[in-house]
Symmetry: C2
Subunit: 500 residues, 2 copies
């Protein structure tokens, strides 16, 4: 057996264990009886430890070197599976080896404790309760960042944090992008909301039994370009999507019986994630390349199906008769134009996860800027609520009444996930660019809502590459120029035009 | 860290991986989309391989020796966790090391192929199609048995097979027991069925929507002595129960909308298994002792709740008004005596899994005797259908019309599980003894159907010990004499009395 085959086999076993962990995580959030939580945490900790030990083994490094120094081992990205695997894994391996096991365990422990405290702190709206745990998370995260001193491409303390979610993107790149986005968005939001934001009647509000919602969503997802018998959809508290192995995507949604929009758009969002996971080239099966490339790209797919597809006029036009059939009486008085307006209502609000498409990115910007202040400017965390509230005033014109509706609303920082937030906005930016590129290629088929063609296009241009190519290479291959906020802003201007 | 702590930690990690595998297996049979099957098989193979490598490591053997030779390391069973752990694991380790990895992999591969062939062979009722695969399974199983030459306690080629499911029971012991059972059963079955076997009207047959069945069963299981929030119940094709970690038992059942008895008694059966899994002493958590002791003991628990409890007059009396409420009209004309008769109808039949309590063990006897003929008498497998059909004629007075209703009905042999069948009957025998012992201790509380008291008694006498004690030690501690078929036969005579 050659070095490449041996490397692939060993990485295949580690990959299998990661899929077992994915199933356990899915189960924990959809199926697990409450009393199983403690044992589940132990099982997950062991799976993580065993995987880490198997991966950071020196022999893996030796095999990577052998593959890279063999003939063809330096082939350009996309040309040779062996070279691509070795290149991507070499970076993963180098990163994994830089972080001592003790620090890794301490990060996991501290964030697990902080997440539990956060639940209670949010309930009581008591930032002080979470503060020492946040301070500990920041301290450990700074130690984590220190592990990457001299790592190629890292120039900023925030770079290694961002890299965990958006590999190979720098702080300066994302800052430039998000500042441009802010400058376009603030006046746009003002324009939209000063004009009312859309209809006050909302046909998605009413009385929608969960069973009928579930039946509708299963029908809608089955019409998306998934391979047959390769997905399921279950209810959960905080929707997510995951792949537990080739041909097995788990989508989740949340049923609010008074608001059909929640389950409808979250299911389309998670289906977008799921389509990315299921579209990876079978050749990459059981390798570390068989995953979406970055969270930004991942989010671009979910947003694309949720916002560009499911909130579009052609999609909603076809949906309307089925809504009338599934929910007798509820949509009788609405035409497809009104349904489109309702699906795209714009409203300044305090809570990120309830925000509409236009205001959403301002919520992200606030979090990103605060993360930079913490890791770049040394912001004292005691001042975090004040800094948070100031920005909500400046960007959204809103007064934050309490920390539960402010700085305590998201779990990310309690979970130690600094560097995650900007990938949400990056996803929106990329979705705008991909939609424009798909439109240039597919023309009327895209405008008419031909989902199969869009699915084929995305699989070919984005999904199939897995982690073989960098995000920049993938976007270039999809016909997108340099990252740009313009297509997104143009799309959002269309939403504002609907509302005013 | 001492040798015991290190051994426990290492075994704890292996235990965690086994629970991950248990969740994957549960998911495969209840939740998994069809297209995920191939990836799931790979994930399971990797989990098995990693566990096996971790367990058979020479360092584990060294730690076991250290614990056993330390002061207290030879304490009597039940006295010291360290000594019990080392004693039980030493035997597991010795057994695991005797079987070469290649043979283990070949057994897994051959039985996996044979199971797939079996599905088709059963459909076509074509024994010849399965024959070469059965021959391969037997050949590999004989090689497996050969690995245990000179192993303490093994005297018969069938001993290592039986030991896989019923540790420390010998072929001669089980043969003696099952021959005694046959001698009691054959005339009993003749008596019961010559007299008609019970009422011809069956109130469990009718029209019972699956949703209403599920709601009833969830209510019934919630009244069993499970810790709160520690179980769930899902539909599957072939019901089973599993524990995926402390506080997390997964029960399954099958809904036949024309026959309520299927889901009702299978759910109670699986709940009995689940109660055993959930009743193990928390002190044994994350050790290889935290499992039920043997399949015979395991089956004794499922049978006890299915047959001794759920088919009893007091239980059915309390069930009847709820059946009337859940299924309006269906049970109006039935009184509790008739319900008891219907739940205990006796009928000679060809299919094991549909057999009643009285005839069931004859199905097992036939399979056990044939297994002995194969592994002791060298029965040519081409003669297997003939030998099967002869025994159905002799013991049950039935003509087998085709192999689908005969030798092809069960998956076990295709799956390479030789030595498994006798544990079903052993479970019935033990259930009879435990019920008698519980009756002696609990008196009227048992007769009145006080399930909480029975649960406490079983947890204390059986469940909590996990694998610390041998089956014989557990039964002795529960107040049972030597293994005996008499309590079971006496119980079955009561069933026959109902029917005639």
């Amino acid at each position: 057996m050659g070095a490449f085959e041996e490397l692939r086999d060993r990485l295949g076993e580690i990959y299998d264990l990661s899929r077992a962990a994915a199933l356990l995580a899915w189960d924990e959030r959809t199926m697990m009886p409450a009393a199983g939580a403690e044992a589940r945490a132990e099982t997950q900790a062991t799976l993580a430890k065993v995987r880490h030990e198997m991966f950071t083994d020196g022999e893996i490094g030796g095999l990577i070197d052998q593959v890279r120094s063999a003939p063809g081992g330096d082939a350009a990205p996309g040309e040779s599976l062996a070279a691509d695997l070795a290149r991507v894994v070499a970076r993963d391996w180098e990163k994994a080896r830089r972080v001592p096991s003790e620090l890794r365990a301490e990060l996991a422990r501290a964030s697990s404790i902080a997440e539990n405290v956060w639940v209670e702190a949010k309930k009581r709206s008591d930032f002080g309760m979470l503060l020492p745990h946040l301070e500990r998370n920041v301290e450990l995260t700074l130690r984590y960042a220190d592990c990457f001193e001299g790592f190629p491409g890292f120039a900023h303390a925030y770079d290694p944090l961002l890299d965990e979610y958006e590999p190979e993107m720098t702080t300066e790149q994302i800052r430039t992008l998000l500042v441009a986005l802010r400058e376009g968005l603030v006046p746009l939001v003002r324009e939209a909301t000063e004009n009312g934001g859309g209809p006050s009647e909302d046909p998605f509000r009413g009385d929608f039994p969960a069973e009928a919602q579930a039946a509708l969503l299963k029908e809608l997802v089955s019409e998306l370009p998934f391979p047959e018998g390769s997905w399921r959809l279950d209810p959960t508290a905080h929707p997510f999507a995951t792949s537990v192995g080739r041909g097995d995507v788990r989508l989740t949604t949340r049923y609010d019986e008074s608001n059909l929009a929640i389950s409808l758009f979250s299911a389309m969002h998670e289906a977008g994630h799921g389509l990315y996971e299921s579209g990876v080239d079978p050749e990459l099966r059981r390798t570390p390349l068989a995953k979406p490339r970055s969270l930004g790209l991942h989010e671009s797919q979910s947003r694309l199906w949720e916002n560009w597809v499911a909130r579009s006029r052609p999609y909603l036009e076809r949906l309307l008769p089925r809504l009338r059939e599934r929910f007798p009486g509820a949509f009788e008085e609405v035409d497809s134009g009104e349904l489109e307006q309702a699906a795209n209502r714009i409203e300044r609000s305090l809570i990120r996860i309830e925000a509409d498409e236009v205001t959403y990115n301002l919520h992200i910007l606030i979090r990103f800027e605060l993360e930079l202040e913490i890791f770049e400017g040394g912001l004292n965390l005691t001042k975090l609520p004040e800094a948070w509230n100031e920005r909500y005033r400046a960007y959204l014109g809103l007064e934050v009444p309490d920390d539960a509706h402010g700085v305590l609303q998201d779990v990310h920082w309690a979970g130690g996930a600094f560097g995650y937030f900007p990938t949400y906005s990056l996803g929106n930016v990329i979705a705008g660019q991909l939609w424009a590129a798909a439109g240039a290629d597919l023309g009327a088929r895209l405008a008419d809502g031909d989902l199969a063609s869009l699915g084929d296009w995305l699989r070919d241009r984005v999904h199939r590459h897995g982690r073989r190519l960098s995000p920049a290479e993938i976007l270039e291959g999809a016909g997108c120029d340099e990252l740009s906020v313009d297509p997104l802003l143009q799309h959002l201007r269309g939403r504002v035009a609907l509302a005013v």
